[in-house]
C-alpha cells in the first residue's frame, strides 16, 4: 500500500466511523432534522485534506471549472463541503459514490480543493444545514423542491451546456416544463449510461410516452421492444433543429442512418420517397407489413389513378383463394412488380420494375 493510499484509507476510516455513528437508523429515529443540523461538523474548505494527499494529476478539464452552484433562494449561504453533507446524507452518498459524476468530482476535488462535490449541483449548503426543512435553501431537483425548474436546468447546463443540449432553450421539452431530473437521476446508477432515471433510454421515455411505446408492439415495428434500438437513435430529447426532436436535418436523413441503401440518388426516383419516408411509412409500429400506413394496394391508390391498371377497385375475389386472383392484390401487391419502389438504378427502371 502506498503512503498516499494509506493516508486516504486512514482519512476514510475515521470519516466512516464518525458517519456510521451519525447515520445509525436507530439514532435517526429519535432525532429531528434540526437536531441533526446542530450536530453537523464544521465545514472544511481549507483544502487541507487535498494538500495532504499527494498531488499526482491536474483536475480533468471537464471538472476544472466546476464551482458551487448559484442558489438565488439562499443568496447568503456558504459552502460547507461534502463531508458535512454526508453527515446526514450518508445513504445518498453511498449510492452517489458509484456514479460517473462522483468519480469525476471526487478526483477533481483531490486535485483542486476549490472544486466542490455535492455543492456543484446543490449549491452552498450552510443555510440548508442550519434549517434542513427550509424550502429552497438547497437546490433540489425533485417534485417537492422549491427550486424553480429554470434554475434546476441552468445548474445542470453549467457543466453540460452545448453539444447535444445546444438547442435545449426553446425545445419542446423545455417548453413543457421538463427538468433534467425528469429523465436523469444522477444520485445513483440506474442505467448503463447517461445516469438515467430508469434502467434504459426506452424505459425513461416511456414514463410520458407510453402510447408511443405501445406502437412498438405492433406487427411491424422498429426493434425497441427487443432492446436492439433506442428512442435516442432517432430523437434528441435535449432539443434539435428538426421536429419532432430529430437528430438530423430531415426525416429521411434520420432513416438513412440505418438504411443507407435508400439514400441514392437513383437513376429513377419516386418523388414522395425523396420527399419524406413518412409519406408511406409510420416510424414506430404498424399493423401492416413494413411499417406501412395502410394496406397495399390502397396505400398506393391514394395517389395513383393513372390510366391503365392502378386505379381499379379490387375486391376479395382477387385474392389467391378468390374467383379471379390478381397480382395487384396478392402478397406484396403492387410491390411484386414495382419492387424497387424506393428508387431504381436500372436504365429500364422508370416504373421501378427493375
Amino acid at each position: 500500500m502506498t503512503r498516499h493510499t494509506a493516508t486516504l484509507a486512514g482519512t476514510w476510516g475515521r470519516r466512516l466511523a464518525l458517519l456510521a455513528l451519525l447515520a445509525l437508523p436507530s439514532v435517526h429515529a429519535q432525532q429531528t432534522r434540526e437536531d441533526l443540523a446542530r450536530q453537523l461538523p464544521a465545514s472544511d474548505l481549507s483544502g487541507a485534506q487535498a494538500q495532504r494527499s499527494a498531488r499526482q494529476f491536474l483536475a480533468a478539464p471537464g471538472f476544472a471549472l466546476a464551482r458551487v452552484a448559484d442558489n438565488p433562494l439562499a443568496a447568503t449561504a456558504t459552502p460547507v463541503g461534502e463531508k458535512v453533507c454526508i453527515a446526514c446524507h450518508q445513504l445518498e452518498s453511498e449510492h452517489f459514490t458509484h456514479t460517473v459524476h462522483a468519480l469525476g468530482l471526487h478526483a477533481a476535488a483531490k486535485a483542486d480543493p476549490a472544486i466542490p462535490v455535492c455543492e456543484t449541483c446543490h449549491g452552498p449548503g450552510s443555510a440548508h444545514a442550519q434549517d434542513p426543512a427550509g424550502k429552497g435553501l438547497i437546490l433540489g431537483f425533485t417534485r417537492s423542491s422549491a427550486t424553480p425548474l429554470a434554475q434546476q436546468t441552468r445548474t445542470c447546463l453549467t457543466c453540460h451546456e452545448g453539444g447535444a443540449r445546444d438547442h435545449w432553450a426553446g425545445s419542446i421539452h423545455q417548453r413543457n416544463d421538463l427538468s433534467c431530473s425528469d429523465c436523469h437521476n444522477p444520485m445513483a446508477t440506474f442505467s448503463g449510461e447517461g445516469l438515467l432515471a430508469k434502467r434504459s433510454i426506452n424505459d425513461t421515455c416511456a414514463q410520458c410516452h407510453n402510447d408511443v411505446r405501445m406502437e412498438f408492439g405492433r406487427r411491424s415495428h422498429m426493434p425497441l421492444a427487443e432492446g436492439q434500438m433506442s428512442c435516442v437513435d432517432c430523437h434528441n430529447p435535449h432539443g434539435s433543429l428538426t421536429a419532432p426532436l430529430l437528430k438530423t436535418a430531415t426525416v429521411n436523413e434520420t432513416c438513412y442512418q440505418c438504411h443507407a441503401e435508400k439514400r441514392g440518388p437513383f437513376l429513377f426516383e419516386h418523388a414522395p420517397v425523396r420527399q419524406n419516408c413518412l409519406t408511406c411509412h409510420t416510424p414506430h409500429g404498424s399493423n401492416q407489413h413494413a411499417l406501412l400506413v395502410a394496406p397495399v394496394p390502397f396505400l398506393c391508390q391514394q395517389c395513383h389513378s393513372q390510366l391503365g391498371h392502378p386505379n381499379d377497385l379490387l375486391t376479395p375475389q382477387s385474392l389467391a383463394n378468390g374467383a379471379h386472383p390478381d397480382e395487384r392484390l396478392i402478397g406484396r401487391a403492387c410491390l411484386t412488380c414495382h419492387a424497387q419502389i424506393h428508387g431504381s438504378n436500372a436504365p429500364s427502371g422508370p416504373k421501378f420494375h427493375e
Binding site: A188, E261, G264, P265, C303, P325, S348
Partner: protein
C-alpha cells in the same frame, strides 16, 4: 459466418481499446445509443437487487421527479474489490435457455435469434480508479451467433472517453419461403433443374414448388464501432465515431414479366428472393467550444454505402405467348434488377450560439452536404438472341419482321447514353433562432430556417445503337406479348409512343419561420403559443408551392402537488398554388422534338381531381392531453388522451386520416422490495380515400368526363383498432425474488369499400350481384405473453434465476389468404407464404455470479 466475423472483429477491437483512449453515446448525433437484446428486456435480465434501505434515511418513501413520476429505488451499491488502485465490480450471468413450440416462426424471431443452449446472459465489468477518475467497463451478451453485443469503454471522467462495440442484430424476413430457384442469398437465381427457363407450364412450376421444403430467411446486421471524445481544454472538446455495418441475408422481393391479370396463362409475376449483402461505413467527428458567451460546434458526417452486387438476376419459368394470332414470342426468361448503388454522403455543419441579455440566446447553424453515386449501369435488358414477337416465323429481326428485336442492340451498356449513373444531390441548410426571457414570467422565441436540395445531372434514356429513346419494359416481356410494345420512342419508327425518357430531378427548397411565447401564469403554470409557417417549393411535382401554417396553444400546470397536466392544441392549414395533375411532361417522349400525337390525342396522365396527399390542401386539428397523478405517496397514475384529425378535402385521393387514442398506466412502489404496474391503451385510426377507374385511354382527364366517368368512382375506408394491456409484479421474499409479467397486443384492421357501379371494379362481374359495397377479411394481430421468473440469492456472490416466457401470436393478413395451399397461381409465383401465428415457450436457468 457471423460468429466468425464476431470473433475476428473482437481481437482488433480489443487491441484498439488497449492502445487508445473513450467515448460515450451522444444524443446529439448518430445511432447505437444503447445495446440490449430480448433476453434483457423481456425476461427480466440479470439479477439486480434494490437497496432495501431505499434512497434516503431522512425521508420515508420514494421521491418524485419534477414531472411527478416516482424515482426507482437505487440498487444495492456494489461490493468493490481494490486491485492496484482500481475498484473492480464484475458480474457475469451464464446459463441455458431452451425454446419450444413454433420457435422457427418469423414473428417470434423478429429482431432476436433464440438458439437453445448455453448463453451469456450478461457480462458486466466496471473498473474505477478514484485517484484520478479513470474508468473502464465491458458489457456483453451472447444469445446466439446472430444475436449478440459487446461494448467496452474506458476513459477518465471529465477528460476523455473511448468506446468500442460489436453487435449482431438478426431480422427474420420469412419463415415459409419456398424457392423454385437455386442460389437464394446470392445475386443469381437459377431455376431448379425440374423447370425449364421460359418453357414451363404453371402446373410444372406448382408441382416443383409443392416439393420444396419451406425455409427461413433472415438478414443479419453485423456492426463494429469505435469512438472517442475528449476535452482538449475546459472549453474545447473533440469527438469522433467510426462504425462499419455489414448486412447479410435474403428477403422476399419481386420480378415482373408483364401483367398476368390481363393475360391469363401468359406473362408472369414472380416474388423472387433477393440478396442483401452490403456494408455501410459511417464517420462522425467534430470540435466544440463552450465559452462564457459563445458556443461553437463544427462537425463532419460521412457515410459510405457499398453493395456487394450491382445486379440481381433471376430466371422466369414461364413461356410467353403473343396476343397476335399466328405469331410466336421469342424465348426470354432472364429477369434482372439493379441493386442499390454504392453511394457517398458528406455533410459539414457548424453552429454558433451567443448569449444575449435577458437570459437569451441567438444561434445560427449552417450545413452543406452531398449525396452522390456513380455506379456502373446495367444494360436495359438481360437476354441473348432475340426478344419480341416473331410474326413471320423466321426468327430473324428485319423490316418485315419488325416486332422482333436483337438483344445485342440492348443487352450491353453500349446501348445507353452513358455507362454510369453520375448523379448527385447537394444539400444546404441555414437555421437561426433566438430565445429571450425579458421577465421571469415571459419567454419569447423565434426562428427562421432554409433548406435546399439541388439535383446535379439527369439521365437521358437514349440508345445510340438504335436511335431509340426510352427503355425496355418488364425485362422485354411486354414486347414479347404485345407486338410493338417495346417501350421506346423513335422519331422515325414510333413517333407517337409515349414513354419515359428522362430521370426526374426533384430539387426543392423550404423556407420556414416560427415565433412563440410562453407566459408563466403562476410559479408552476405556463401557457404557450407558437405560430409557424413553412413554404415548400418542390420541382417536378404537382404543386410548385405548398404552404403549411400552424398555431399551437399549450398549457402546463404543476401547481397541485398531486397532478401534472400538459395539454396542447394545434391547428394546421396546408395549402398551395395551382395543382397540376401532370408535372412530368418533360420526362416523357411527348417533350421530344418530332413527337407526333397519337390519333386520339395524348392520353391524360391521370384524373384531374386527384390530389396527392403530401401536397394536397389539408386542415389538421391535433389535441394532446397528458396527466401524471399521484393518488398516494407510493403510486403514480399516468394518463394520456390524444386526437389528430386531418381533412384533405380531395375528391380523389386521401380524404381524411384521423387518429385517436388514450392510455393509462398505474405504478406502485410500496417499498424497495416491491414494484407493480398495470397499463392499458387503446387507439384507432380511420383513413378515407377515393379513386376512379378509367374506361378509355383518352385525352380528357376530367372527373366525370369520358375517360373517368362518375360512375367509375370508388371509395375505401380503412379502420385500425389497437388495444394493449399489461401488468408486472416484482417482489422479494427474503432471498427469493418473484417477478411476473403479462402483456397483450390486440390489433384489428378492417378495409371496406363502396363503388358507384361495376365500372369501378377491376372485374366487372364482382359488381353484378347488386351490392355496391364490401369489405376485406379482418386483419388481425394479437400477441399474448406471460413471464414468470424466480431468482434465488444463494450467497452474496451467487444467485440463480429461473424463468419461463410464454408467447402466443395470432396473425391474419388477407394479402396471403390462399397461399398456404398454393404458391403458384397461373403465372404467378409467391415465394413467401406471409406471416404465421405461433405458440412458443422459452425457459431459462441463469447463474449470476459476482466475480
Amino acid at each position: 459466418m457471423p460468429s466468425q466475423s464476431f470473433a475476428r472483429a473482437a481481437l482488433p477491437l480489443a487491441v484498439l481499446m488497449v492502445l487508445s483512449a473513450g467515448s460515450r453515446a451522444d444524443s446529439g448525433s448518430g445511432v447505437d445509443m444503447e445495446f440490449g437484446n430480448a433476453l434483457l428486456t423481456r425476461t427480466g435480465g440479470a439479477n439486480e437487487t434494490p437497496d432495501a434501505r431505499g434512497m434516503s434515511w431522512l425521508r420515508p418513501g420514494q421521491r418524485r421527479s419534477p414531472g411527478g413520476h416516482l424515482y426507482s429505488c437505487p440498487l444495492e451499491p456494489p461490493t468493490l474489490q481494490e486491485i492496484s488502485g482500481w475498484d473492480v465490480d464484475a458480474r457475469v450471468q451464464l446459463g441455458w435457455i431452451g425454446t419450444y413450440g413454433d420457435d422457427d416462426n418469423a414473428l417470434w424471431n423478429r429482431y432476436v435469434r433464440w438458439d437453445s443452449g448455453l448463453v451469456l446472459g450478461l457480462l458486466e465489468l466496471a473498473l474505477r480508479r478514484p485517484a484520478d477518475g479513470s474508468y473502464a467497463s465491458v458489457r456483453a451478451s451472447h444469445l446466439s451467433s446472430d444475436d449478440a453485443f459487446f461494448e467496452a469503454a474506458f476513459g477518465r471522467a471529465g477528460s476523455y472517453a473511448v468506446q468500442a462495440f460489436l453487435r449482431e442484430l438478426p431480422n427474420a424476413t420469412s419463415d415459409s419461403a419456398i424457392s423454385i430457384w437455386n442460389g437464394v442469398g446470392s445475386n443469381e437465381l437459377t431455376l431448379l433443374p425440374s423447370l425449364a427457363p421460359g418453357a414451363s407450364s404453371s402446373g410444372q412450376v406448382a408441382a416443383t414448388a409443392a416439393g420444396v421444403a419451406p425455409q427461413r430467411l433472415q438478414v443479419v446486421r453485423s456492426k463494429t464501432g469505435l469512438g472517442f471524445d475528449a476535452y482538449l481544454t475546459p472549453r474545447w472538446t473533440a469527438y469522433a465515431k467510426l462504425s462499419n455495418e455489414q448486412r447479410s441475408g435474403a428477403r422476399p422481393f419481386g420480378g415482373a414479366f408483364f401483367y398476368n391479370f390481363l393475360f391469363p396463362e401468359n406473362a408472369g409475376a414472380l416474388e423472387t428472393l433477393r440478396p442483401v449483402e452490403d456494408s455501410t461505413l459511417n464517420f462522425n467527428g467534430g470540435l466544440r467550444f463552450i465559452g462564457a458567451r459563445w458556443r461553437m460546434d463544427f462537425a463532419y458526417d460521412g457515410s459510405f454505402y457499398r453493395d456487394a452486387y450491382r445486379r440481381f438476376r433471376f430466371e422466369s419459368p414461364f413461356a410467353l405467348t403473343p396476343t397476335r394470332p399466328g405469331a410466336t414470342s421469342a424465348t426470354i426468361y432472364q429477369g434482372q434488377f439493379a441493386l442499390e448503388p454504392d453511394n457517398d454522403y458528406h455533410n459539414v455543419r457548424s453552429s454558433f450560439t451567443r448569449r444575449l441579455p435577458w437570459n437569451g440566446e441567438l444561434s445560427v447553424s449552417a450545413a452543406a452536404g452531398r449525396m452522390s453515386q456513380d455506379d456502373g449501369l446495367i444494360a436495359p435488358i438481360d437476354c441473348s438472341g432475340t426478344f419480341g414477337v416473331d410474326i413471320d416465323g423466321s426468327g430473324v429481326p428485319s423490316t418485315t419482321n419488325r416486332f422482333l428485336h436483337n438483344c445485342s442492340d440492348w443487352n450491353t451498356t453500349a446501348s445507353l447514353s452513358r455507362d454510369s449513373a453520375d448523379l448527385r444531390i447537394d444539400t444546404y441548410s441555414l437555421d437561426s433562432r433566438v430565445t429571450l426571457q425579458p421577465s421571469s414570467r415571459l419567454n419569447l422565441r423565434g426562428g427562421v430556417r432554409f433548406n435546399r436540395e439541388d439535383y446535379r445531372n439527369t439521365y437521358l434514356a437514349y440508345n445510340p445503337l438504335t436511335g431509340d429513346y426510352g427503355y425496355i419494359t418488364e425485362n422485354g416481356a411486354q414486347a414479347s406479348i404485345q407486338a410493338g410494345a417495346l417501350g421506346t420512342w423513335n422519331p422515325l419508327t414510333s413517333p407517337s409512343v409515349i414513354t419515359r425518357v428522362r430521370s426526374l430531378p426533384l430539387d426543392r427548397e423550404t423556407h420556414a419561420a416560427d415565433i412563440g411565447a410562453d407566459w408563466r401564469l403562476a410559479e408552476r403554470r405556463t401557457l404557450g403559443l407558437s405560430l409557424t409557417t413553412q413554404r415548400n417549393e418542390p420541382t417536378h411535382r404537382e404543386r410548385r408551392r405548398v404552404v403549411e401554417d400552424s398555431a399551437k396553444l399549450s398549457f402546463v400546470d404543476r401547481s397541485l402537488d398531486w397532478l401534472t397536466l400538459r395539454a396542447s392544441y394545434t391547428r394546421l392549414d396546408q395549402h398551395g398554388d395551382r395543382y397540376v395533375s401532370n408535372p412530368y411532361g418533360s420526362a416523357y417522349s411527348t417533350s421530344l422534338p418530332g413527337f407526333v400525337a397519337p390519333g386520339g390525342g395524348v392520353p391524360a396522365f391521370t384524373v384531374d381531381a386527384m390530389r396527392k396527399y403530401d401536397l394536397a390542401d389539408r386542415r389538421e386539428h391535433k389535441l394532446d392531453l397528458m396527466a401524471t397523478v399521484a393518488p398516494a405517496d407510493d403510486m403514480t397514475l399516468s394518463a394520456g388522451l390524444r386526437g389528430d384529425w386531418n381533412d384533405y378535402g380531395a375528391l380523389i385521393g386521401r380524404q381524411a386520416y384521423d387518429r385517436t387514442g388514450f392510455h393509462l398506466q398505474w405504478e406502485w412502489q410500496p417499498s424497495p422490495l416491491t414494484h407493480a404496474s398495470v397499463h392499458y391503451g387503446a387507439d384507432r385510426a380511420r383513413l378515407r380515400m377515393a379513386n376512379v377507374a378509367d374506361v378509355v385511354f383518352g385525352p380528357d382527364g376530367s372527373l366525370g368526363g369520358p375517360d373517368y366517368p362518375l360512375n367509375a368512382r370508388w371509395w375505401a375506408y380503412d379502420k385500425q383498432r389497437n388495444r394493449t394491456a399489461g401488468a408486472t409484479l416484482d417482489h422479494r421474499f427474503g432471498p427469493v425474488r418473484v417477478d411476473a409479467g403479462w402483456n397483450l397486443v390486440d390489433a384489428r384492421g378492417l378495409t371496406s369499400y363502396r363503388f358507384d357501379s361495376p365500372v369501378a371494379l377491376a372485374y366487372f362481374e364482382d359488381g353484378l350481384g347488386g351490392a355496391r359495397s364490401g369489405s376485406f377479411p379482418l386483419m388481425r394481430y394479437r400477441v399474448d405473453s406471460l413471464t414468470l421468473g424466480l431468482s434465488f440469492a444463494l450467497s452474496p456472490r451467487f444467485s440463480l434465476r429461473v424463468f419461463d416466457y410464454y408467447e402466443r401470436g395470432r396473425v391474419d393478413d388477407w394479402h396471403y389468404l390462399g397461399l398456404d395451399t398454393n404458391r403458384v397461381i397461373d403465372h404467378r409465383v409467391y415465394s413467401d407464404g406471409g406471416p404465421r401465428g405461433y405458440t412458443t415457450n422459452l425457459i431459462g436457468v441463469l447463474l449470476d455470479v459476482r466475480l
